[in-house]
């Protein structure tokens, strides 16, 4: 039988074997990549809690970031934010001047500008921000009445980016203005519906990590009805709560306090049956604004925090207050989770400022670790 196999045939046989082996290797590799499940992450939270900012940060940190054309797309939004902010402050003047006339009246030279900008703010198609308009806005922003109105911004629905944009209005009005990365992160757009993206947090060793699918949602009450579509098979919920909102009211219901709303929302989400085994990562967001606010507005103005007693002042006070809020949320978590479930699911609290890139990068690294660990634990248990 040996002479039937010529050398060529033998070589062909070898080649065949090699090809087969290669096939098998490929199939094994495919299988192991198929084993990696895409992890589903949800960004939940009340309105204006920082979810979309985190979403943008993911793009900056783990995806391609914002290139120039995408940044240019935000010019309209930035300008709209500026117009909106000054308009809201002007409207606030109307409201406040009913009780205290002199304090909330514009200087005579600014009255005409005030009317003009209120009218502009009401339009849908707003004029491009020219140097002239920027000067007028600046004049208004510096007006003592507007500044007084700004001090009572918690009673208005002023976006948090107002001071950032209004302080810098001339830069925004440059003809060749392209929003910086910071501007893009500050830009406020009320999210509607559901947005998703996929990313993979690149680990320390630059090895591609887990694949995450991240969903961003709207936070207002009518948007929450849409969340139900996302509740299946969630790996982790990133719940964003803005620390600085304890003295503000809801956009969609000016009789409700935002912190109380967040509390109730968090409770509701925790009790959701599909989240029995879902990890909860609480991002206590807007820490920078919290720092500034805590020494001016006591924490116990919020009903939920009414048994808080400030001990000191300054930075120590900030940490103290933060610790208190964190404890309150942890208590809330424990109240809303039956004891046997507390072992099953992970709950971690993170202090974040969504605008701070490095902080978010570090936070996400921690998040990634937590989730990987959880996944391994689940796998072992299986």
């Amino acid at each position: 039988m040996g002479c039937i196999f010529s050398r060529e045939a033998a070589e062909q046989g070898d080649i065949r074997d090699t090809i087969q082996a290669r096939e098998i290797d490929k199939r094994i590799a495919q299988q192991s990549t198929a084993e990696k499940k895409v992890q589903k992450l949800l960004l939940l939270g009340a309105g204006e809690s920082g979810k979309s900012t985190i979403f943008k940060q993911i793009k900056v940190l783990f995806q391609t970031g914002f290139d120039d054309s995408e940044k240019k797309n935000y010019t309209g939004v930035v300008h709209a934010n500026a117009y909106q902010s000054i308009k809201i402050l002007l409207d606030g003047l109307q409201e406040f001047s009913e009780s205290e006339q002199e304090k909330y009246t514009l200087l005579p030279e600014n009255k005409a500008i005030g009317e003009k900008l209120t009218e502009i703010g009401n339009r849908t198609q707003q004029p491009p921000l020219t140097e002239e308009l920027a000067q007028q806005i600046e004049a208004l922003w510096k007006d003592p009445a507007i500044q007084a109105s700004y001090l009572r911004a918690n009673e208005l629905q002023l976006p948090d980016c107002a001071s950032h944009f209004l302080n810098d209005i001339h830069r925004l009005a440059q003809p060749d203005y392209v929003p910086s990365k910071e501007d893009v992160l500050y830009a406020r757009v009320r999210t509607m519906g559901i947005v998703e993206t996929e990313f993979s947090p690149v680990g320390e060793t630059k090895k591609r990590g887990e694949l995450y699918r991240l969903f961003d949602v709207g936070g207002q009450r009518n948007e929450r009805r849409k969340w139900i579509h996302l509740f299946d098979g969630v790996t982790a919920v990133i719940f964003c709560a803005a620390l600085s909102e304890y003295d503000q009211t809801l956009f969609e219901d000016e009789s409700s306090n935002r912190m109380i709303e967040t509390k109730e929302l968090f409770e509701w989400v925790l009790k959701e049956p599909t989240f029995e085994k879902t990890s909860f990562l609480l991002f206590l967001n807007k820490f920078d604004l919290f720092e500034q606010k805590i020494n001016k507005v006591p924490l116990n103005t919020c009903e939920w925090f009414k048994d808080y007693k400030p001990l000191t002042s300054g930075q120590a006070e900030v940490e103290n207050a933060y610790g208190y809020v964190k404890t309150k949320f942890e208590e809330l978590y424990n109240e809303s989770t039956p004891p046997d479930q507390r072992l099953d699911r992970v709950f971690k609290v993170y202090k974040t400022t969504a605008l701070d890139e490095n902080l978010i990068k570090r936070t996400f690294r921690l998040v990634d670790e937590v989730l990987v660990r959880q996944r391994l634990m689940d796998a072992k248990m299986l």
Partner: protein, 612 residues
């Protein structure tokens, strides 16, 4: 439960019937029949009541099933349901209070006259019935005459209206007017009091109906109210006459008594049936028969919108688009084009943000109603408010508390600028949230493909001088027009897939050129896949109109045109706009599942069905 009781009592009462059958012979048997019930007429009355009650119950079920249809919704389904409950209670109480049944347990609470006459016949029977009508008239008055939203919801108004009667009943209960607990006889003035209460409520209803006499109602609410009122009045008058006659003939008129109570129950059934069925017959029939009649047409008329029901021009019709869609128009003008709007709507719904587009669309339909048609504007505005603005509504949109309050506290529901700011906010939200991703979505790709195929076919027709081809042939994408030119044929069949769009948004217009004054797609700087349509582009509109006219050999009426279009499987793969279902909690379709299905085509993304 009540039925079972009744049947049981009937069977017990049966032996009372004398062998002679008729109740005119011996006084004793007729006395027994009169006193204890069991006459033939009583059986008939009970059967009639049972039948009417069942029909009302069935009607209520149908109403609940069809509550989203505009004509039915205009009748205020919750009020109708309360009314049907009131009707059934009232009919039962009419039976029970007339001594039609032999009462087995003398002091049973359930058969007490107080319960039936004072409470169930009064406030919770007739009172409930009339109060529903009063509440309906009240709401119509507020909305159409006052042009404002009523301060109280109608369903909350009904208990309020009943307070008066409940007070009276409590007072009477205290006084204990009935001679014995099971015999519903009392002094004549008690009956006068009760009767005048009935009359009083009927008068209130007359008053409310009179207040809205001048409005022309789209869904015939006024005529129905008037009919209801007149029937009520007739009944009351007859009831009074009956009672008087009964009192006068109290001595020997046993027969009269039996006849009287039968007539009473009969009248009661008639009035209840009329009050219930007159308002709802037409809309229910229309709603139920449409699946049968409309098998030829598609679902368009079955699930129609309020705009269509009010006759908004071109509402729901898929008219051919304006030939020119310039894609660098602002969003608001792009949305005026039906095909773009549909495509954008589908995209928005895939992102679960459809309610804003629907809201904008319905506000647009409202603006098409002329200012002289005040009543229709009020209907439409009310519908939009109930659907999109009220907190917790079916398709609530994302607007600030201030804006919501402004709309809800308006003094003029027919104001053309009522929704102006909200609509502008809606456009703003669509622009910032959806527009950029729409340009890069498959929905936009499909729209472009559809438009260009459309243009291609008409271009081919033009080249072949074909004018008379029926629309079906043209629209059927599988049909290949015979051409001698193989190059053209291959061109026609291969629709090149467009590459990734310019991420800056669509610059298909000649924005770079800077001087495009025409509204149409400027073909100087367009991408290559657009250039084929160049020659035919200007003639496209003309062609379409020509084709349309020649389709049936005569100028087609809009409805026929519509049905033909529907039958032909329209150009756009999305169907004609069905009313938005929006978000109801507990929806089965999981967003992630849909997305998984879409993503499954992408080999780079490995998904597994989520299982945890």
């Amino acid at each position: 439960m009540a039925m079972a009781n009744r049947l049981r009592l009937l069977l017990q009462a049966a032996p009372v019937l004398s062998p002679s059958g008729s109740f005119s012979s011996s006084s004793s048997s007729s006395t027994a029949c009169y006193k204890e019930g069991g006459c033939i007429s009583d059986y008939v009355a009970v059967a009639l009541t049972a039948l009417v009650s069942l029909m009302i119950f069935g009607g209520s079920v149908l109403l609940v099933l069809g509550r989203t249809v505009p004509e039915i919704k205009a009748k205020q389904v919750p009020l109708l349901l309360i009314q049907s409950i009131g009707s059934i209670v009232w009919l039962t109480s009419l039976l029970m209070t007339r001594n039609m049944f032999k009462l087995s347990h003398r002091n049973s609470f359930l058969e007490s006259c107080y319960l039936w006459q004072l409470w169930l016949e009064g406030p919770f029977g007739f009172g409930l019935l009339i109060s529903c009508h009063i509440a309906r008239a009240f709401r119509l008055y507020y909305v159409f005459v006052g042009r404002r939203l009523p301060p109280i919801r109608s369903t909350f108004l009904v208990p309020l209206l009943l307070v008066l009667w409940i007070l009276l009943s409590t007072a009477l209960q205290a006084v204990q007017p009935f001679r014995s607990i099971n015999e519903c006889s009392a002094r004549w003035y008690i009956w006068v009091v009760i009767g005048s209460m009935h009359l009083f409520y009927a008068l209130v209803l007359i008053l409310c109906t009179w207040a809205i006499r001048n409005i022309r109602f789209e869904f015939n609410e006024f005529t129905e109210l008037v009919t209801g009122v007149s029937i009520c009045l007739i009944f009351l008058v007859l009831w009074i006459i009956m009672n008087i006659v009964k009192q006068l003939a109290a001595g020997g008129g046993r027969l009269l008594g039996v006849v009287a109570r039968f007539v009473l129950v009969f009248l009661g059934n008639v009035i209840v049936s009329c009050l219930f069925w007159i308002p709802v017959t037409r809309p229910l029939l229309g709603h139920m028969l449409h699946p049968v009649l409309g098998a030829g047409r598609s679902n368009l008329n079955y699930d129609h919108s309020m705009g269509e029901a009010l006759g908004v021009p071109n509402s729901g019709l898929l008219v051919p688009p304006a030939a020119h869609i310039s894609l660098d128009e602002p969003l608001e003008s792009l949305l005026q084009h039906k095909r773009f709007r549909l495509s954008f709507l589908s995209f928005a719904e895939s992102r679960i943000a459809g309610e804003t587009v629907h809201f904008w669309d319905e506000v647009r339909e409202l603006s098409k109603l002329s200012l002289t048609q005040q009543d229709r504007r009020v209907y439409m505005a009310d519908h939009i408010i109930q659907k999109y603005i009220v907190t917790g509504s079916q398709c609530e949109i994302n607007i600030s508390a201030q804006m919501r309050l402004e709309i809800l506290s308006t003094n003029d529901l027919a104001d053309p600028n009522l929704f102006k700011r909200a609509a502008e906010e809606a456009v703003h939200m669509m622009q910032t949230n959806l527009l950029k991703e729409y340009w890069q979505s498959s929905y936009f790709q499909e729209l472009k493909n559809q438009i260009e195929i459309d243009m291609e076919y008409s271009a081919q027709l033009e080249r072949m001088n074909i004018r008379d081809i029926p629309l079906r042939v043209i629209r059927n994408r599988d049909y290949e027009l015979p051409t001698d030119n193989p190059f053209e044929r291959s061109q026609a069949s291969s629709v090149p897939s467009s590459g990734p769009l310019d991420p800056q948004g669509v610059n298909l217009g000649s924005r770079a050129n800077g001087n495009s004054t025409s509204k149409s797609l400027d073909f100087k700087n367009i991408p290559p896949w657009e250039s084929k349509a160049h020659e035919s582009q200007s003639a496209y509109g003309n062609h379409l109109s020509k084709i349309r006219v020649n389709m049936d050999g005569s100028a087609s009426s809009q409805s026929r045109h519509l049905s033909n279009r529907n039958r032909l499987g329209y150009l756009i793969s999305q169907r004609s706009p069905s009313p938005p279902h929006c978000i109801t909690p507990g929806l089965d379709s999981s967003y992630s599942d849909n997305e998984n299905n879409n993503k499954a085509k992408d080999p780079n993304i490995i998904t597994r069905p989520a299982s945890r």
